[in-house]
Symmetry: C2
Subunit: 141 residues, 2 copies
DNA sequence: CCAACTGTAACTGGTAATATTACAGTAACC
DNA sequence: GGTTACTGTAATATTACCAGTTACAGTTGG
């Protein structure tokens, strides 16, 4: 899976956890363990999709603008990592004489298309709010 | 997805399609569009898992030794690409003070563990025999 | 012995992913 | 109005991974 998916999810959970729902790219980067520039890039995508608002300038940063229980991992997957499990490497070749070799790409494609749908429906069942609950549950033990 | 998974599936479908169920690495490689050495490596794994038998020496090659309708993509996934969708990149750090940053790895891990299971159950419903049927269906149109 | 294979390991080159740097633009605050 | 603290974005290392390739030892049939 795409690391940008991870960064997006982690950032949103962090924002959901903060009392004021706000944080700067530097603060998020320290928590995620990556570079602030990457965080800005990822959260820029999330802004364009309406999941966070940003404020530039001093005292600025990112703020969650959707209820954490209304945002699922499927939303984030579609935004940040659609097609991530479909391989970029292709076997066979449609020009080929052999029936197997010439049609494998198409069949393989339909298989992974189904796999994507399967994965999305799984992610559909997990919200940012639930992620936060799970984290709290970890903490207690 | 791992390209070795693709090569494995393609090779097995090809073997299932051949009347005598047998082919050399060179023949398979030409059909898959890759190098014979890669095919030998992949089919070596399949041999170790009991899906094909090999014969070295002149006139040798690979032969399917399981009924195509008994072999599912899930079997191949577990052999060739287990953990393929779980990211190798980790956010957060268990040593961290913050509750979110310190527990994110564990929670993210459980999420992807579930995703793997979901994917496997999808692959469980697709056999090599069905793949071959789908290819034949493509050919007709 | 020779030819045709498999089984492996090692090396190469290209490409994708991550980290880093840099700087223009913007807003708060004194 | 200047300074400080941010975002937005592009460009540039740097690293890691992956497919392709080569090479050669081992095996088998003729």
């Amino acid at each position: 899976m795409n690391s940008e998916f991870i960064i997006a999810v982690h950032s949103l959970v962090l924002l959901a956890h903060k009392p004021d729902g706000m944080a700067s790219s530097e603060e998020i980067a320290a928590n995620v363990c990556t570079h602030p520039a990457r965080v800005r890039k990822v959260l820029g995508f999330l802004r364009k999709n309406g999941y966070v608002t940003t404020r530039e300038g001093s005292g600025g940063g990112y703020r969650l603008c959707i209820d954490p229980s209304d945002m699922t991992l499927a939303d984030i997957y579609r935004t940040m990592a659609a097609g991530a499990i479909t391989p970029n490497w292709c076997s066979g070749n449609p020009e080929m004489d052999c029936m197997v070799g010439s049609n494998m790409q198409e069949v393989m494609n339909s298989v992974f298309c189904g796999a994507e749908k399967q994965l999305e429906s799984y992610f559909q069942g997990i919200t940012i709010g639930q992620m936060l609950s799970r984290i709290k549950a970890c903490q207690k033990t």
